[in-house]
């Protein structure tokens, strides 16, 4: 039988577990449960009406839709960026590597303003799309671009160490067995990277769902068209509709939790298959 407490050379099991539990409760669980407590003040019918109103529904669609699309695009291009950073040597590589972290460090409002300036109909990039009838800023496309911007480092930074550690021998073995480059990539490299890509996807998605600062500038915030959930929550707060705000927050919390949980399950399944 496995004992709850394994003998170990390092002492401190009791105290570290205690600190961990109380810290997590204080910092994470307490505020989140406050959310549920304040939402409990309204009746279920009222709650349901708030969280399923048409304006909120369309905001869910935009928030989840744009976040998913952004996370997918980030996984794809993030993998390419990581590949180049890990596998090739070129001048300016270190600078490029550092640049990947900029979306982490930049205040999100700065990013939002910069992106809006670029993609607005009169902006540097937006003006070339305007004649084609493509509006980027103030539409879901703009939202997605902002979310791609802030999500990229999550994918790169989770895949990078895995790719660095990946032994070249796997590729060499595949090639000596007669596989083409494409077959080697699809059947040997990609499966090795999948767990890390999934973690990167989950983190980019989670970040995108909660993103506020960089999006509100470029979104234009037209109800039903380019309004995201975090904005609706802020709007409700500004109108002193605290229970309305917390109701929507509870829905977002549950949805995010379920999604992250599902991704984690998938990931541990794909990991268990080989590391058993």
């Amino acid at each position: 039988m496995r004992k709850f407490r394994e003998p170990s050379v390092l002492p401190g099991f009791g105290i570290t577990l205690g600190i961990t539990l109380s810290y997590l409760s204080l910092i994470v669980l307490l505020p989140l449960s406050g959310l549920f407590v304040s939402t409990a003040g309204v009746s279920f019918a009222e709650f349901w009406a708030t969280v399923t109103s048409p304006r909120v529904m369309s905001a869910y669609r935009i928030s989840f839709g744009a976040s998913f699309i952004a996370a997918f695009i980030n996984v794809f291009f993030g993998l390419i960026v990581t590949w180049v950073l890990v596998r090739y040597k070129f001048p300016g590589k270190r600078i490029m590597d550092a640049m990947v972290d900029l979306p982490f460090a930049l205040p999100t409002a700065v990013a939002g303003i910069a992106l809006t300036a670029l993609y607005a109909p009169q902006g540097w990039v937006g003006r070339y799309f305007e004649p084609l009838g493509i509006k980027i800023a103030f539409t879901p496309i703009g939202i997605t671009i902002a979310l791609i911007f802030i999500g990229l480092p999550f994918v790169v930074r989770t895949v990078q160490p895995v790719l660095e550690d990946m032994n070249r021998e796997y590729e060499e073995a595949a090639v000596s067995l007669g596989a083409t480059r494409w077959q080697t990539f699809c059947r040997v490299i990609l499966p090795e990277l999948t767990p890390a890509l999934m973690t990167g996807f989950a983190m980019a998605l989670a970040r995108a769902l909660g993103e506020y600062g960089s999006v509100i500038f470029i979104a234009g915030n037209m109800p039903g068209v380019s309004e995201i959930i975090p904005l609706i929550i802020i709007t409700k707060l500004e109108q002193y509709d605290y229970t309305g705000a917390t109701s929507i927050a509870v829905v977002m919390l549950l949805a995010s939790f379920l999604m992250l949980f599902a991704i984690n399950l998938l990931q541990s399944w794909s990991r268990r298959r080989r590391d058993e």
Binding site: N167, E169, Y170, E172, A174, S176, L177, G178, R187, P191
Partner: protein
């Protein structure tokens, strides 16, 4: 399918010369060991033959075809890696089937055919019951066998193995190399394997290629390279040895430097005459007398052998040489018997093998290793701290 390696040179970025004009001719069906210390270029040579690395100059000809323009995918060589490089996310079956399943549609065997072939190979490596396991569920020896089956599945022209037993523990290693030897006897595929373990090379290979510093030092059968090493490096690499200072006399014989004066026992036949008086001087008289009375006088006198000592003095201009000898070629004694010797003190005795291993320290601090039959050790009652007279029974000199 033979392989000709002609004048291969390879230099890495940092100007490190990995291979220097290496040429090698491998006959069809041979099992060749590339033996050398790390950094000797053996793995680089193997990877160049496989097409995983490219030579700066020189050619590799496989089965009459120049390989320079072909990449690893087109060369049809099987490669086995030291750390197996099995695909972790695939089962044993999928791993072995990989080479067949990536073929273009036109050349790909049917699913049933792939299945039959893979199961045959798994039977060959005695792992048919493990076909749906993942590599992480297998032991090291089993993984390396799967890696071998995976390489064999594509029916390669040659099999290249990069330190195939390097990551395994001693017992599994021995089993696996015996198994590989038998496998090679069965399927006769031209094989080259890299190793730094001379025992492994000697036991498995038909011919051994000893390499150092990017050059081939000697190519030969295990017997040839062990007993007739062409230079000091090969001699050194193939086993433990002791080194003595020595000198060469004008006849070309070598002597230990410690002995200034050498007294060689010499058997001198002394004429019977001086021993048997005047009659011995006239054998004809005995002959005639014996015709009359047979057997009266000794007609043939047995020569008397007298042992003398021949003294050789080391001339001041004698050429100094290094003498090398293997531990089992050391003669030890507790008493002086008049021959050349050096003295040494016993510092350690390891009796845990067929030959007792002695570690001896010479007065100057140099360490000698000797392997002596247990009976001799018992007879001489050798103990730690004893002073012994040491003489190499056989020596080699490399100019």
């Amino acid at each position: 399918m033979g392989i000709q390696v002609n004048d291969i040179s390879k230099r890495f970025n940092n100007d490190f010369v990995a291979l220097h004009n290496v040429s090698l001719d491998i006959k069809s069906g041979e099992l060749i060991a590339l033996l050398g210390p790390s950094g000797s270029g053996k793995t680089t040579l193997l990877r160049i033959i496989a097409g995983l690395e490219f030579a700066d100059s020189g050619t590799v000809i496989l089965d009459g075809q120049e390989l320079r323009t072909k990449n690893a995918k087109e060369r049809n060589v099987g490669f086995v890696f030291q750390h197996y490089a099995l695909f972790k996310h695939m089962t044993v079956f999928q791993n072995v089937a990989f080479g067949l399943s990536v073929r273009p549609k036109a050349q790909r065997p049917s699913d049933q055919e792939i299945r039959r072939k893979v199961m045959d190979l798994l039977e060959l490596i005695h792992l048919e019951a493990y076909h749906d396991r993942y590599p992480s569920q297998l032991s090291g020896g089993q993984r390396q066998r799967v890696a071998l089956a995976r390489a064999l599945a594509v029916e390669p022209k040659v099999l290249l193995l990069d330190e195939p037993f390097g990551a395994l523990d001693a017992k599994v290693r021995k089993e696996l190399r015996r198994w590989m030897r038998r496998l090679h006897d069965d399927i006769h595929i031209t094989s080259i394997f890299v190793t730094h373990d001379q025992e492994e090379a000697m036991e498995v290979a038909d011919r051994v290629v000893v390499m150092s510093n990017g050059c081939i030092e000697q190519v030969g059968t295990p017997e040839q390279v062990y007993h007739h090493p062409v230079n000091g490096f090969v001699y050194d690499f193939l086993g433990n040895y002791n080194e003595f200072d020595g000198w060469k006399d004008k006849d070309g014989a070598v002597h230990l430097a410690e002995t200034e004066i050498v007294e060689i026992p010499e058997e001198t036949i002394v004429q019977a005459s001086t021993q048997t008086g005047w009659l011995g001087r006239y054998p004809e008289i005995s002959h005639v007398v014996n015709k009359v009375v047979p057997g009266l006088l000794p007609e043939k006198i047995a020569p008397v052998i007298v042992k003398k000592k021949k003294t050789i003095r080391r001339p001041p201009d004698a050429t100094a040489v290094k003498l090398f000898t293997r531990p089992h070629e050391i003669f030890v004694s507790k008493v002086l018997d008049g021959d050349e010797y050096v003295t040494a003190r016993v510092t350690h005795i390891n009796p845990a093998s067929a030959l007792v291993k002695l570690e001896l320290e010479r007065p100057g601090g140099a360490i000698l290793q000797a392997e002596i039959p247990k009976t001799v050790v018992d007879e001489l009652n050798i103990k730690r701290g004893d002073m012994l007279y040491i003489r190499p029974k056989a020596t080699r000199v490399f100019e």
